[in-house]
C-alpha cells in the first residue's frame, strides 16, 4: 500500500513537472498604444463606448481583437509581434475615419515589432474648445465653445450638449449624479456656451467630484466629451 501511494505521488509529480514545459505559452509582450487625435489633439469619448478592431491576417480562422478607447481618447493593447490590420468601424466614435494612404481605405496597417506608439488621426464632427469647468459654492459652471470640423455634405447638427457631474472619474451619460442639458437648437453662440448646475447632496462624504461636458451629435451614436475635470468638493 505504501508503495502504491509512493508510486502515485511520483506519477503526479512527474506529470506536474513535465506539464510545466508544455502548457506555458509565452505571454504577449509588445504594447501598442496611442490616442485618437485630430491635429494631434486627443478626442475624449465615453467610458466603454468606442472600440477598434485588430485583425491579424494569415490565419485560417479569423476573429477580431477588440481594443477599447479610454475616456481621454487613449488606447493600449498587449499583443504578439505580427502585422495587424487596425479598423475603426464606421459607426464607432463621434468622428469619421480618414482614408489611409497605404491601404486606400479606413484600414491602417500596423507592423508590430516591440512596443509602438501610434496616434490615429480622425475627422471629428465637432471639437470642444476652451472647456473651462469651475465650481463656486455647490454650483458647477462650464464654459466652452464648439467648433464644427466637418462642414461638407457629411456635416451633422448638434442634438444637445450636456454638463455631467459624477462622483467618480467616470463621467458620461451613464455615469453621473447630476446633469444639465441644452438642446442644439437653443444654442445661440457656438463659440460661447455656458451652462451650470447644482451638485446634489452626496450620501457619502468625499473630497472631490468630477465633471465634463458632452456633445450628442444628431445621427451619431457615440458622444464627444471634454476632458474630465476634478473639482474639490
Amino acid at each position: 500500500m505504501k508503495i502504491n501511494i509512493f508510486a502515485i505521488l511520483c506519477f503526479a509529480l512527474g506529470v506536474s513537472l513535465s506539464s510545466c514545459e508544455h502548457d506555458n505559452f509565452e505571454a504577449p509582450e509588445s504594447k501598442l498604444e496611442g490616442r485618437i487625435v485630430y491635429n494631434g489633439e486627443p478626442i475624449n469619448v465615453g467610458y466603454n463606448e468606442v472600440n477598434m478592431q485588430l485583425w491579424e491576417p494569415g490565419w485560417q480562422l479569423r476573429s477580431a481583437i477588440n481594443v477599447l478607447v479610454d475616456q481621454d481618447g487613449s488606447y493600449s493593447a498587449l499583443l504578439f509581434d505580427a502585422p495587424y490590420k487596425l479598423v475603426i468601424q464606421p459607426a464607432q466614435g463621434p468622428f469619421r475615419s480618414i482614408k489611409n494612404e497605404v491601404t486606400q481605405s479606413d484600414t491602417i496597417m500596423v507592423d508590430l515589432k516591440g512596443d509602438q506608439t501610434l496616434d490615429i488621426e480622425v475627422m471629428p464632427y465637432y471639437m470642444i474648445r476652451n472647456a473651462q469647468i469651475a465650481k463656486a459654492g455647490s454650483d458647477v459652471t462650464a464654459n466652452f465653445g464648439l467648433e464644427q470640423i466637418i462642414t461638407d455634405a457629411n456635416a451633422k447638427n448638434v442634438e444637445n450638449v450636456t454638463l455631467y457631474v459624477s462622483r467618480t472619474m467616470f463621467v458620461d451619460r451613464g455615469n453621473n449624479i447630476a446633469t444639465k442639458q441644452l438642446n442644439g437648437g437653443d444654442i445661440t453662440d457656438m463659440n460661447n456656451i455656458s451652462m451650470s448646475l447644482t451638485v446634489p447632496a452626496l450620501t457619502t462624504a468625499q473630497s472631490d467630484i468630477f465633471a465634463r461636458v458632452g456633445v450628442k451629435i444628431a445621427g451619431v451614436e457615440d458622444m464627444l466629451y471634454s476632458p474630465v475635470q476634478k473639482l474639490p468638493l
Partner: protein
C-alpha cells in the same frame, strides 16, 4: 495453464460462429424505430412533428423569466440576475439565433413526408402543411433577430468529398425572407383547417396571424428604417427599401381582417375587467388564443413560471417573486378618461398624498394594470400580498427591517410590531417585491402551481386575437385610415374598461406604441417592436434617468426608459401608539441593484453572426455597426 487454454478455445468458438453468420451483424434493433417504420404510421409521424413543434424558439417566454428583465418592463429580484441592471451595453450577439440544425430537420421532415407512400393523403397534406408552418415561423424568428439569412429549403447533405464549399449559401435579402414567410403562409392558409378550438397546432387562424405580424414587421422596417440609414447593408441583407412599406402594410391589414371572419373573439367572461384580463392567460376555454405552446400537468411538459414569480409571502416554496414589473410600465397604463398621468403620490406643493388603502392609488386606471401587475393591497390565490416598505413618521424618517416581515419597536413600549411586509420590498433582498410590484400575467392561480413537485400547466400564448386587432389598427394607421384604426383599437380598449372611444384624430403613433406596450407586456413583443420601429436606440439610449425623467412624457414613444424604477408603499405613522390606524403614502425608488442605464447600440439591431459561421462560410456578410 489449462485455464488459459480453455479461455482461448472459448474465444475461438465465439469468433468463428460470429464470422460464419453474416446476419448476426444485421439484426433489427428492438429499442429504436427505424425511418421506414415511422413513415407508415400516423401516430408516429405525429410524434415526430410534435418534437418539431416543441422546439419552436421564443426569445422571452414563461420558460425563461429572466429575459423579461433585460429592458425596462421589469426588475429582476434575483441575486444571480442583477447583472441585467448593471451592464450598460447589450452584447452584439444578444438575442442571436442561427438554428440551421433545427431547420435541417424540418426540411428533412418535409422531404421524407413527401416521399412517404403509406400515409393517408389527407393526413400527409396536413403534416406537410404543419411542417411548412413551423419552418415559416422559424424563418420569421430568424429574420427578426438576424435580418436576411440563407434561405435553405431542403436538407443539405455533405458528400464527404473533402470540399464542403458547394454547401455554402449567401444571406438572402431581409425582404426576401419576409416575402418567403408571407407567401408560404398565404399558401398554407388554404390548406390548414379552420379549427378555432385547436390552439396548439397550426390552423388557418395561426397562419394568418403569423402572416399579419410578419407583414407588419416588414412594413415598419421599410418605413422606420429610413430614420437609421446606418442600419443597413448595401446588399439588402439588412434593411428593406422604403417604397415597399405600403404593400406590406396592406398585406398585414388584409390578413388581420381575414382572421376577424374566422370566429375568434376577445375573451370576455368575467365581470371584473382586471380579473378577466388576467384570466386570458390561464383559462384554456378561450376564444382569444390563436396559437399557443401548451403545457399539461403530470406529463413532462409543465412550466415553473409560477414557482419563479409567485409572491414571496404566500409562496409554496422558499422562493418566488423574481419578476418585479417596473414603475415605468405601471405608469404607462392610462386613466379611464384616456389621459396619461404619473401616479398621484404628491400634491402640487410637494406633500405626500395619503390613501386609506394602498390599492386606492391605482383606482380609475386601465383594468389591464390589475390584470398584468400584482399591485400592493390586492390579492393572489385569495391572500393579501403584504407589500409595504415600512412605517414613515411625519418627519419623513422611516422604520423598517431587513428581514421578511421583520419587527421593530416603533413606540418604545417594549413590544415589537411588524414593520415591513412579508413580501418586502427590501432593497437588495432577492424574491421581495423590490419595485413594489409583482407580476400577475401568466401566474397560475391553481393550487400547487407554485410547488416544484407539481408545477403549472398555464400555456404560453404566441398569437392572440387582441394582438391581431392591434396589428390591424397599426397597419390601418400607417395606411392613412385612422378611423379604421380607431375602430380596432377601441375594441381592445373597451375590454380594458376604457369605454370612452378614441376618435380618428386621437390615433397617433405614440398611441399605437403605448397600446402595444400595455396590452402585450410580458408577451415577448417589446424587443422586436422597438427594433422594427427603430426606437430601441432612442428609448434605451444609455442616459441615466432621474425621477423627473421618469414621470414626464408618459405615453410618448421616444421617452427614455433605461432603468427600472419602483414605487414603495409606506404606512404613515401619525400616532405611534396606534400603529394599526394608518394612512398609506408612496415613494418612488430606484432599486439598489440598478446601477447602470441600458444602452442599445445601433449594432444591436441585428444580432451578431458568429465568427465560426463566417469562417466556415465566407459568403456570409457581417452585420452593420459591429
Amino acid at each position: 495453464m489449462k485455464k488459459y487454454i480453455f479461455m482461448l478455445l472459448a474465444g475461438l468458438v465465439v469468433g468463428n460462429s460470429g464470422c460464419n453468420n453474416d446476419e448476426f451483424l444485421d439484426l433489427e434493433p428492438k429499442n429504436i424505430l427505424l425511418e421506414e417504420d415511422v413513415w407508415t404510421d400516423k401516430t408516429l409521424v405525429t410524434s415526430v412533428l410534435s418534437n418539431l413543434y416543441g422546439r419552436f424558439p421564443d426569445f422571452q417566454s414563461i420558460e425563461d423569466w429572466d429575459n423579461f428583465t433585460e429592458f425596462d418592463e421589469a426588475f429582476a429580484s434575483n441575486a444571480g440576475t442583477y447583472g441585467n441592471h448593471r451592464n450598460a451595453d447589450y452584447g452584439y450577439g444578444s438575442w442571436g439565433m442561427w438554428e440551421y440544425g433545427y431547420i435541417r430537420e424540418i426540411n428533412s421532415f418535409i422531404q421524407k413526408c413527401e416521399a412517404a407512400t403509406e400515409l393517408d393523403p389527407a393526413d400527409k397534406a396536413q403534416f406537410l402543411a404543419e411542417a411548412r408552418f413551423i419552418r415559416a415561423g422559424v424563418y420569421f424568428e430568424e429574420v427578426k433577430r438576424m435580418g436576411g439569412v440563407p434561405l435553405i429549403l431542403e436538407p443539405l447533405t455533405y458528400d464527404f468529398s473533402g470540399d464542403p464549399s458547394y454547401l455554402r449559401q449567401p444571406r438572402a435579402k431581409e425582404h426576401e425572407v419576409y416575402d418567403f414567410v408571407i407567401s408560404e403562409l398565404e399558401d398554407l392558409k388554404g390548406i390548414l383547417p379552420n379549427e378555432v378550438s385547436d390552439k396548439a397546432r397550426a390552423t388557418k387562424g395561426s397562419a394568418l396571424a403569423m402572416q399579419a405580424r410578419a407583414a407588419l414587421y416588414a412594413g415598419s422596417i421599410a418605413k422606420y428604417g429610413t430614420s437609421t440609414p446606418q442600419v443597413s447593408l448595401p446588399g439588402g441583407e439588412v434593411g428593406i427599401p422604403a417604397d415597399m412599406a405600403t404593400g406590406y402594410y396592406q398585406k398585414a391589414l388584409s390578413a388581420a381582417q381575414e382572421i376577424m371572419t374566422l370566429g375568434y373573439s376577445l375573451y370576455q367572461k368575467k365581470p371584473d375587467l382586471g380579473e378577466n384580463f388576467a384570466s386570458i392567460f390561464y383559462d384554456k376555454n378561450n376564444p382569444e388564443a390563436i396559437w399557443v405552446e401548451d403545457f399539461k400537468l403530470k406529463t413532462g411538459k409543465t412550466n415553473g413560471f409560477t414557482i419563479d414569480n409567485q409572491p414571496r409571502y404566500q409562496s409554496e416554496e422558499q422562493q418566488g417573486g423574481r419578476l418585479n414589473p417596473s414603475l415605468n410600465l405601471v405608469q404607462s397604463f392610462e386613466n379611464l378618461d384616456n389621459t396619461f398621468a404619473p401616479l398621484p403620490i404628491m400634491d402640487a406643493s410637494g406633500n405626500l398624498i395619503h390613501y386609506t388603502n394602498p390599492a386606492d392609488l391605482f383606482a380609475g386606471r386601465d383594468a389591464r394594470l390589475y390584470g398584468t401587475v400584482m399591485l400592493p393591497g390586492t390579492q393572489f390565490k385569495g391572500k393579501e400580498l403584504d407589500i409595504w416598505a415600512g412605517y414613515m413618521r411625519p418627519d419623513g424618517t422611516i422604520i423598517t427591517s431587513s428581514n421578511l416581515g421583520g419587527q421593530a419597536d416603533i413606540n418604545g413600549d417594549g413590544t415589537n410590531e411588524q414593520v415591513v411586509g412579508f413580501s418586502g420590498p427590501i432593497d437588495g433582498l432577492e424574491f421581495t417585491a423590490q419595485t413594489g410590484f409583482y407580476l400577475r400575467k401568466y401566474l397560475d392561480p391553481a393550487a400547487g402551481s407554485g410547488q416544484i413537485g407539481t408545477r403549472s400547466e398555464v400555456w404560453w400564448i404566441r398569437y392572440r386575437y387582441a394582438e391581431v386587432l392591434l396589428n390591424a389598427a397599426e397597419a390601418a394607421f400607417e395606411l392613412g385610415q385612422p378611423e379604421v384604426a380607431a375602430g380596432y383599437m377601441n375594441q381592445v380598449r373597451v375590454r380594458a374598461g376604457l369605454t370612452e372611444p378614441l376618435t380618428a384624430a386621437d390615433i397617433t403613433f405614440d398611441r399605437i406604441v403605448n397600446e402595444r406596450r400595455v396590452e402585450l407586456a410580458f408577451e415577448g413583443h417589446q424587443l422586436f417592436d422597438m427594433k422594427r420601429w427603430r426606437l430601441a436606440h432612442v428609448v434605451w439610449n444609455g442616459n441615466r434617468m432621474t425621477v423627473s425623467d421618469l414621470t414626464t412624457n408618459i405615453g410618448k414613444a421616444d421617452k427614455t426608459s433605461t432603468m427600472p424604477f419602483g414605487l414603495w408603499p409606506y404606512k404613515y405613522l401619525a400616532d405611534p401608539n396606534n400603529p394599526s390606524n394608518t394612512d398609506w403614502v408612496f415613494r418612488i425608488v430606484l432599486p439598489n441593484p440598478v446601477t447602470t442605464p441600458d444602452r442599445f447600440r445601433l449594432g444591436n439591431y441585428y444580432s451578431q453572426i458568429g465568427e465560426d459561421v463566417i469562417n466556415n462560410n465566407p459568403l456570409i456578410v457581417r452585420q452593420p455597426n459591429q
